[in-house]
Amino acid sequence: MAKRSYTKTPMREQSPEIRNQNFDEVALGYSLEEGQLEASRCLQCKNAPCITNCPVMIDIPGFIKAIEEGDMPLAYEILSRYTNLPAICGRVCPQEKQCEMVCRLGRSKKFEPVAIGKLERLVADWALEQPIDYKEVTGDKGRVAVIGSGPSGLTAAGDLVKLGYDVTVYEALHAPGGVLTYGIPEFRLPKRIVKKEIDRIVAQGVKIETNVVVGKTITMDEIITDFDACYLSVGAGAPRFQGIKGTSLNGVYSSSEYLTRVNLMHGYQFPEYDTPVQKSKNVVVIGGGNVAMDAARSAKRLGADKVSIVYRRSLEELPAREEEYHHSVEEGIEYHWLSNPIEYIDDGEGRLKAVKCVQMELGEPDESGRRRPIVIPGSEFIIEADTAIEAIGQGANKVLLDTFPELALNKWGYIDADEETSATSIPGVFAGGDIVTGAATVILAMGAGKIAANEIDQYIQKTRQEQLV
């Protein structure tokens, strides 16, 4: 065997100066040969740590071995045992904080970890090109409703169908996918991939009904009456605003609105598509998470001359994925570290003219262990901007919760559900994903969906047996 390369097999990418003018995917994927080369770097550990650090516990050495041997059907079959959305996870998981973080190869000083995410993507993309040969089956073990078609709901639904249930997913928007569809941009996660992956779940027998707002179009009472159990996976989609002066000026957006216009509504293809999105010259994005990166990089692609990110801590604390941060820098996004906006300035006609910020310094660590930013007195500065996008996090959407007051919530307004079992205060009602944890990652939401599917199965089987006795 050839000598193991110290570094990951590189993945071809669109060059920064070209890609920051289009919405096509940045990373182009491995060829089979590149994948086999990368797969050969895997040490095939017994008790592989990468498996336990994956929220859905994929048999990583197993599928990598299949790639190395060129057996793509087997590689896909292994992946499918654990995940319903491999093409998505391979792209958007923060592997550097999960499977790849504990890779034994990467633990030795000289080597980078195996590119597990990129290999997962290779297999999943191969599978999406194969014809779907599933037979749609309607299970007879019971009826389960899944509320919300984001990664958590889709995972639970996919697993429940495999377990023999009749599953209906209710989605409020006109397209399924949740954040995969309205939040994460095309250049990071092409919507045709999301659609294909969801089509495969539907082909297995999951029914998806769009345009249904549970709490409004149908009530929780109806769900509880009509189904043996339900899984609430409605996410944390309600935007927060800092509420500083000028928040309602034209040109000030929540990242949710900006990204929904761009992604779900194809605002970048206006006027081909009807939904407009503002053409900006100078854009300021507030926040340091993946959502801030996505908004900033989208604004650049929409033709803004200058896009800067204002973040109240420093690079070290940045919660965004490293890869996305690097991509953003390559694409010309600028950063104002240790800065926070305190006012949006009016141009006199109700439009944003500039963002007034203050400089911060880091003090003692707070409860989260991160050093708390403190304002430096007299440090105000102005950034000229016609667009400001707040990406400072989301909270629980109250539409369903307000109409279902019996359900216990925690002090942050999220559903109080057992993390081990997904059980809520109401028997038969399970919950998971961001509506329980607050905004987190796609893969954690999927992990929660997996747990919920098993718990729902056990719950229904137990109730059935009790009824027989």
Binding site: A172, L173, H174, Y182, T210, N211, V212, V213, K216, T217, I218, G237, A238, P239, F241, G243, T247, S248, N250, Y253, S254, S256, E257, T260, R261, M265, H266, F270, P271, E272, Y273, D274, T275, P276, Q278, G350, N397, K398, V399
Partner: protein, 278 residues
Amino acid sequence: MFKVLERKELAPTEYEILVEAPRIAKKAQPGQFVILRIDEQGERIPLTVVDTDKEAGWVRLIFQVIGKSTAQLATVMAGEALMDIVGPLGKATDIENYGTVLLVGGGVGIAALFPIVKGLKEAGNHVITILGAKNKDLLILQEECAKYSDELILMTDDGSVGQKGLVTQAMEDVFKREEISMAWAIGPSIMMKFCTITAQKYDVSIYVSLNPIMIDGTGMCGGCRVTVADSIKFACVDGPEFLGEEVDWDEFVNRMQQYRPEELTANERYEKQVSSNG
């Protein structure tokens, strides 16, 4: 897909459609709205539910052609279908027996006012309704509002029907002679603003139904945010009805203008397409 069962021109540039949507028909209450999308390239636009038939499973929508999407919607004929319709959205009107109530509707806003007129009448209120429009042809739903009103006052800019003048003049007359427990105004934002000022003069609380720019309509984006009693509210989930005296009107009117240039672009492009198609 959601089938359009009937389509009717009510007035020049104003249309009524009945859309098959059994779930929405079953649940919608006065004051609520739907969001629809005509086709795959379409935008999501909010429209008030004017009426429903639970048994037949349709919702009645009325709209005015003001831009690209409404112009296109006007071309959807009975038997054709809309891509998406979702609802009912927003909070329902607080319907109860207040005593004597005053309802003011302007232009296509009369469509949004009608279900509230009907609801309040059925709840036992003494209902006084003022309808206003530019002219006789644009004064829609007169007969239906009359059916559920104890008194109906019509106002037109040109005096072609009813009295010549603004709805606020008619409001003044009513306030001078009647004890009004609660009022509503729905119409163009400038009208609702002046109805609020008029009601305040007589110390009467007035509800208005705000129609800001919306996208999802389910509280997910804050595009429809308005400042009410000094705090940020989302019209799609906290409204669309708010107390007029608590609304920051200047900000609301300003935010409505946000996409004016893009709206013009879309409309011009559509008109060109339509004319080139013959």
